[in-house]
């Protein structure tokens, strides 16, 4: 007997009788005829009780080590208010399907509408969808949107300072589509915009950059949108949404497309997933943006109502002419995002951003005193690169911290796979970190001076 299969033998008998067969086996006659029917059980465990499942999975969770995290590179250990986690587990949100039946789904549709509104207000662009899978796939979708919007263009310029994993997703998508990716070089840790005009050809559809970039540095995008728009190209900017509370938003920089990952808006790190990607665009791209969109309308009594709209863009209508195949997305994550941003409001989010930046600055100043590191000084959000005099020194540094339960930074090599990055780490500090934790960090690594 399985808890999730309610049939008693009495039920089964009645049902088989109604159907007019003698056994369940008879219902699988087509499998037999097709030569596909398995004779034996699958070679996996036999079913176990709930308690045994909990024991096994707990053991697996305990095989992982938790630590004080100074790790970033796209996933951050931010403070998550309790209400976000509690409200996100409400069964109306968790166990619902996609709200195609608007009449019984107004709550979910409204939550998505509020998410879209929040993204639009943060990015300063008028149209947002109700999530993509994550930042990397959002970057690929943005590249696809740019290329499909410009007839007779098949090139896209992407800055080398975009997150390496995002770049990989774009490259993967581009393979086999007949399009080309052109990399904009970097200089001193930011995009080298002096090179931009020389890379533009009559096949260029648009440009994509990221700020804060892969190193955590803010990029000065003054004048970039003018260059891109001068050849009628589309301009996309990828940004950590929390950073938009202090830096110019994508719309304010003149972008046509805004993308990023919403993990920093109330989502646990959870080994990288689930998270969500966001995309906002200007009105000229409204009929082309991928993903589900909720619109406000009225019902047959004139009452305000929400509904999935502009469905003609999507795969179930356009099929092979759809620019994206996306169907299920990260709906529940978007609900957590909108609860987070509603709970903190702009002021709360800005405070999280400023505290993160202040604490990161504190740690940077402490690390800067070490003789064996070199730290580039540029405007950054909450993450910065630390270069060591040798790879061995870097490993000693990280090991010393790890022994005390501190994850000191992400090895840049892990992201870029470039030899010149072998002795650099990215250190991220969020509002969750305390002065005590940072002082402990500095004390431990300070001890390495004498090595």
């Amino acid at each position: 007997m399985y808890s999730y299969i309610p049939h008693t033998s009495g039920d089964e008998e009645k049902m088989l009788d109604t159907i007019g067969v003698n056994s369940i086996d008879e219902l699988f006659v087509d499998l037999k005829e097709g030569g596909c029917l398995l004779k034996d059980y699958l070679k996996i465990n036999e079913g176990i009780s709930e308690e045994e499942v909990i024991r096994k999975i707990k053991r697996l969770a305990n095989m992982n080590e938790q630590g004080t995290s100074f790790l970033g590179a796209g996933v951050y250990d931010h403070i998550i208010p309790s209400a976000v986690l509690s409200l996100a587990s409400l069964p109306g949100f968790v166990t619902s399907y996609t709200p195609y039946q608007a009449e019984i789904s107004q709550g979910i549709l409204q939550a998505f509408f509020e998410f879209q509104t929040m993204i639009c207000n943060l990015t300063s662009l008028p149209v947002s969808n109700a999530t993509l899978y994550d930042g990397g796939s959002a970057a690929a979708e943005a590249a696809s949107l740019i290329l499909s919007s410009k007839r007779a263009c098949n090139e896209i310029i992407v800055s080398s300072t975009v997150s390496p994993f995002y770049l990989e997703c774009i490259k993967t998508w581009i393979t086999g589509t007949g399009n080309n990716l052109v990399l904009l070089p970097e200089k001193d840790g930011v995009s080298d915009f002096d090179c931009l005009e020389s890379l533009i050809t009559d096949k260029t559809a648009g440009v994509m950059v990221q700020t804060p970039n892969k190193y955590g540095f803010f990029e000065d995008l003054t004048g970039v949108s003018s260059i891109v728009h001068s050849f009628k190209g589309l301009f996309a900017i990828s940004s950590d949404p929390l950073s938009l509370t202090i830096q110019k938003s994508q719309g304010q920089w003149g972008a046509d497309i805004a993308i990023g990952d919403t993990q920093s808006l109330g989502i646990p790190m959870a080994f990288g997933g689930p998270t969500a990607g966001y995309m906002a665009v200007n009105s000229s791209l409204m009929r082309k943006i991928p993903g589900r969109i909720v619109g406000q309308t009225v019902d047959n009594q004139g009452k305000v109502a929400y509904v999935l709209t502009l469905q003609a863009r999507e795969q179930h209508i356009k099929r092979e002419r759809a620019t994206s195949n996306i169907c299920s997305n990260e709906a529940l994550i978007s609900i957590m995002n909108v609860i987070y941003t509603s709970q903190l409001g702009f002021k709360g989010m800005r405070e999280a951003a400023l505290q993160s930046r202040s604490k990161a600055q504190y740690l940077l100043e402490g690390l800067d005193k070490l003789s064996f590191v070199n730290i580039k000084k540029r405007d950054f959000f909450l993450e910065f690169p630390v270069e060591f005099d040798s790879k061995e020194r870097m490993e000693k540094f990280l090991l010393a911290l790890k022994k005390k339960g501190i994850f000191g930074g992400v090895r840049l090599y892990q992201l870029t796979k470039k030899k010149e990055d072998e002795a650099t780490i990215l250190v991220a500090v969020t509002e969750k970190r305390t002065k005590e934790e940072m002082d402990e960090y500095l004390e431990i690594v300070g001890g390495l001076e004498n090595d």
């Binding site: 999730y4 309610p6 095989m63 166990t95 019984i104 790190m269 997933g273 609900i335 994850f407």
Partner: protein
């Protein structure tokens, strides 16, 4: 009951729902003027109680599997076990960063590895990836594997994917995203792939065929071994859309049918919650000769240790920023553990039993598109009812809302007119199905007696039918 106001319209300036610990270091230097945000974004200012009431209320204006019967064809809306929510709240999972040293994430990596192995056993495949975040994402990845295979073999002219006319929209869209064109293969009068039409279409430009088995009509492709032989002989590969896997777990395996690449929907077959449209997970499994194209990083187990392998020369690259929807994978992994080989088989058997039961009951009045034993889902055609009363599949569906049921899938697959597709799943009982069938049969009589009323349904829901034309003509997409 009416709709809630937007939370932003409940704001009161200066109200506050959260406070942070005070800053314990000196504040950061101001940001360069050129980089500063120019305004304050408009976001709610409410108290925590306002927030909780607002979203709690919104969650009640929704219909979840927890509330009632959800026989949505093609979606497998089975019960989402509560234990899985508990397991994914462990901070041994939630507090883990994806770039931690491998020796600190052995639990996560073991789950990945074991899950791939389990899914390989269920599908018959040799290896897989858990990186795709949804079924469509899995299709995109699987087709990219096929694309990579033919590029590697230097057969770039193979740029056509065949799909049956009953296919789900994501199939052709996924093919197009990979630079393929599609050709449609017709169905025969039994609702299955027409072998003669297939043969005509198997030219040297074919990279492969995407199929689901059972198909979107809930019918098993009895000729599948013939189909796979024909496609392989023509030099193509077979892709299995696993959306309908709930019909055949432990009863048949895609590999044995001749498929080369498979994707599963963990949020369908493997009980993870739909969440209003995600997060899901779309693992892709494949045969040995396609292993080298696996997305990076791959998961390996060597000398008693699990690790991530980034050095895969022929990898297709990445489809997600990191490794996939880990917490969703944990839920599905726990489900497989809990059901086991016997439970999964029983689940499919009872899913098929339930669908046939509902089919036979509804056939008392309604016309079934294909009048024979179905698998886990079946399709009714309401064309006759529409012709005689004007009541459509949409009207019957909307009337079901008033009776407290989520309607079945409407107007899919497109090859059946006025289609309603039912998939009860194995977690529904005889009693629930009897009550629902009685209501649907009653609606048939109501359609004959008073069609005008059904055309205006629903009446008892928060709102009535919405003006979708207005929404699409003059979109209002933000508050």
């Amino acid at each position: 009951m009416t709709n809630e106001k937007l939370l932003i319209n409940k704001s009161v300036k200066g109200r506050n729902a959260y406070n942070f610990p005070p800053l314990d270091v000196k504040p950061a230097k101001a940001l360069n003027e050129k980089l500063k945000r120019l305004d304050e974004a408009i976001l709610p200012e409410v108290s925590e109680l306002d927030l909780v009431r607002h979203f709690s209320k919104l969650s009640t204006m929704a219909f979840g599997v927890d509330f009632g019967f959800y026989p949505l064809g093609s979606c497998t809306m089975k019960y989402n076990p509560k234990v899985n929510e508990r397991l994914t709240s462990f901070d041994g999972f939630t507090n883990i960063h994806p770039l931690q040293d491998e020796d600190t994430v052995q639990g996560c990596l073991k789950i990945y590895y074991e899950m791939i192995k389990d899914l390989c056993e269920i599908s018959g495949m040799d290896w897989g990836t858990l990186q795709p975040c949804a079924g469509a994402h899995g299709e995109y990845t699987g087709l990219k594997i096929i694309r990579s295979y033919f590029m590697d073999k230097n057969e770039p002219q193979r740029n056509i994917i065949l799909i049956p006319e009953s296919a789900h929209g994501t199939n052709p869209a996924s093919a197009h995203m990979n630079g393929f064109d599609i050709r449609i293969v017709k169905s025969n009068e039994r609702g299955l792939v027409d072998l003669e039409d297939l043969k005509k279409n198997l030219k040297s430009d074919v990279a492969g065929i995407m199929l689901t088995n059972p198909n979107t009509l809930g019918l098993f492709e009895v000729d599948i071994l013939k189909i796979s032989k024909l496609v392989h002989q023509a030099g193509g590969l077979l892709y299995y859309d696993g959306a309908n896997m709930n019909a055949i777990m432990g009863k048949a395996r895609p590999r044995d049918m001749g498929f080369d690449v498979v994707h599963f929907n963990l949020h369908k077959t493997f009980s993870t919650p739909h969440g209003g449209g995600g997060p899901g997970s779309g693992p892709v499994l494949f045969v040995d000769k396609l292993k080298k194209f696996v997305p990076v990083p791959d998961v390996i187990f060597e000398n008693g240790r699990y690790s991530l392998d980034w050095e895969k020369e022929d990898s297709l690259g990445k489809v997600s920023s990191f490794y996939g929807n880990f917490l969703v994978i944990v839920k599905a992994y726990a489900y497989i553990l809990s059901m086991g080989c016997d439970g999964l088989k029983s689940a499919s058997e009872h899913a098929v039993l339930n669908a046939n039961y509902m089919r036979v009951k509804l056939m008392q009045k309604y016309k079934v598109a294909y009048d024979r034993i179905c698998m886990h889902e079946f399709v009714l055609s309401l064309q006759d009812l529409k012709n005689s009363t004007g009541v459509s599949a949409l009207d019957i569906s909307k009337s079901l809302l008033d009776r407290g049921y989520h309607p079945p899938t409407m107007y899919f697959p497109m090859i059946v007119h006025e289609a309603l597709m039912f998939e009860p799943t194995e977690t529904e009982s005889l009693q629930v199905m009897d009550e629902c069938c009685n209501v649907i049969l009653d609606l048939y009589e109501k359609a004959k007696a008073n069609p005008e009323e059904l055309k205006k349904a629903p009446f008892k829901t928060v709102i009535g039918r919405v003006d979708e034309v207005l929404a699409a003509r003059n979109p209002v997409l933000k508050g």
